[in-house]
Amino acid sequence: MKLTGAQALIKSLEMQGVEVIFGLPGGAILPVYDPIIDSPIRHILVRHEQGAGHMAEGYAQVTNRPGVAMVTSGPAATNIVTPLANAYMDSTPMVVITGQVATSSIGTDAFQEADTTGITMSITKHNWLITDAAEIPEVVAEAFHVATNGRPGPVLIDVPKDVSNQMMDWYWPDAVDLPGFKPTTKGHPRSIQAAARMIKEARRPVLYVGGGVIRAGASRALLTLAEKTGIPVVTTLMARGAFPDSHPLCLGMPGMHGNYSAVTAMQKSDLLVTLGARFDDRVTGKLSGFAPEAKVIHVDIDPAELSKIRHADIPIVGDVRSVIEDLIEALDKGEAGEMVQADLAPWISRIREWQKLYPLSYDRDGSGNGLKPQYVIETLSSLTPEGSILASGVGQHQMWASQYWRFDHPNAWVNSGGLGTMGYAVPASIGAKVGRPDKVVWAVDGDGCFQMTAQELVTASAERIPVKIALLNNAYLGMVRQWQEMFYDQRYSEVYLSPDLPDYVKWAEAMGCVALRVEAPEEVAPAIEKANDINDRPVVIEFRIDSGEKVYPMVPAGASNDEIVLGPSYGGAR
């Protein structure tokens, strides 16, 4: 069967089971947009290429399947650089297809030419520049294989226009042959046995759980391990929902804005059982002061993460789900099986004391101007159906969302962790809703973030994707304002945005959304209930929140986690 390169590309995506492409056409990718008309694959036309990338990420974060985005060459390719970098940091599987100028024009500074593979080399797991249409099926198969195996991540395929038009003999490869890509998935048995013994001996252990547990689908195995050993669990920003917040062993989020018991349990721990986490600086604080007495068991599918930041006493390369399952077995067998688990009761009771003394807290009396953002998110969480999905942008609202939303399920939290990409929430929530149309999808967003990518609500309206946006409007770039208040003598430099410029209600309405503005606490619940009942179009609720509200607890940048600041609701004391 003779096909054009463009037809072969779309057919290859169909062979991979792709159900949706987020994209925007243009000159160099034009040939590929023609066979889309005849394909069962749904195409969602975005308003900015960055939106296509973040939608693909949101889709992947809730489905654990690779998101697919397709854009043209040059400026479109550079517009999708941010999502690629974001997906690379958060290990999100994504396949991006970019158009490229014809092979004969490459290197001549042709119209809309950019060195896309060169630009994206360090923010993709791998990228390909196709030079012959016959390569297309093989490269697409390789691209999906690389994006989803080992540590997941983004890949990019750059397709010159003449290659899209070139005829080729259709085939589909039986298998992928990449001699340089053979991820280790099975943990080394001796290391796992040693880890089991170390766990049995530990008196103050913590399960330090990262986003890898979600990517590996290891939540169920983790629950078994935690309940079997009775070891408390902290879930990082990327791992919220990997272990249910409602479980008595869950301590919540550690790190710069983590809660006291999660941060302090790690600090006082004698063993960090690290599962798919990478000792990010936002978790460790000042590294030399981080968990000084803890030994480290570190499980990760990426060998380069082991001992990169913190020395691992027992490094285990492998798929975290497979390793946890093997570890559960190893706890009952051999030498470890004969050992009695050290008594964790004193440790647990110390943690319970911290939880009682220093729970997450804010001023519920509502002093100050405007709504308390924490109250808005608590109310949102309690009124929204169990298992709903929450997306978030980056900044104060992201931290409040992580702190005050109840996370009980994996793949239900869509946020930008490693790169901290403002504007992530709106497009990512749209991608999430496309991936899980059966779920209610809310996005919590800030006014700064919203202004970066709000135009994708036009996409959502046009495509009938009924996401719901809780816009926490504090008229500031709030997190920067907080740092200027705390660390720059309240000298506010370029952080004021205005509460009513733009008029968010009018703007949302102009984009085809139902829009509501909420200013009083008693209006919060009715507005959320109204939004939950709307299922035919996007909804935006603008909550006017207190611009003076800060995120607490907080470990100041560069400080040790022992120096955690609890905030004014404890009278400024610890």
Binding site: S122, A304, V317
Partner: protein, 194 residues
């Protein structure tokens, strides 16, 4: 305890390099012979802040593969982290860490040296002692070539410098592990399954 592989003690090389306190190590990296592979390796080093001391690239006898001989500066990052990051590149097939003690190494030096009638004889004497070659002869200059170990190249450079060095070009070293005669441990290969 570990399943990452043994650690290697970094060593300093003699000559001008050790006096700068730089510790160097040789990695022999087998890569797929594809467009852009060198750029991927170079960008990885740049992006992660690793220093390349020298780099030599050439195809192997099997045209599907090329071999990169990279001399890395271990002051910038631990060797283990460098090799693990390199392994993440899809086009990297195999990395052999070559401890210079257990390696055969060669490097090529081209040097243009001032050589008037009075000094020419002494220079040619050194050429003979080191087994170098005269590639080109000018009225007051000679272009010399020497292929030997990096240390020998250092010594040779040191000695001919006295006559006035006009230009020096070195290729960067290439290295292979010593053949196993029962004694040396040779290079330590790290396949993808670490």
């Amino acid at each position: 305890m570990t399943n990452i592989g043994p650690s290697i003690v970094p060593m300093s090389l003699p000559g001008g390099r050790s006096s700068r306190g730089v510790s160097l190590h040789v990695l022999s990296v087998l890569v797929e012979n594809r467009a852009g592979v060198l750029a991927r390796v170079a960008q990885l080093f740049s992006r992660r802040g690793y220093n390349i001391y020298s780099l030599a690239v050439a195809p192997t006898d099997d045209e599907r593969f090329s071999r990169l001989t990279v001399v890395v500066d271990l002051e910038s990052a631990p060797l283990e982290q460098i090799t693990k990051q390199l392994h993440k590149l899809i086009n990297v097939i195999k990395i052999t860490e070559i401890d210079p003690v257990d390696a055969v190494e060669q490097e090529l030096l081209l040097a243009v040296v001032a050589a008037d009638v009075s000094s020419r004889g002494q220079i040619l004497e050194l050429v003979g002692i080191f087994g170098a070659k005269v590639l080109d002869v000018g009225l007051e200059r000679l272009t010399l070539a020497l292929a030997d170990t990096p240390e020998k190249l250092d010594d040779f450079t040191e000695l001919i410098k006295v006559f006035g060095l006009i230009e020096v070009q070195r290729s960067g070293r290439v290295a292979l592990a010593k053949l196993n005669r029962g004694g040396g441990r040779g290079g330590i290969s790290r396949g993808k399954a670490s």
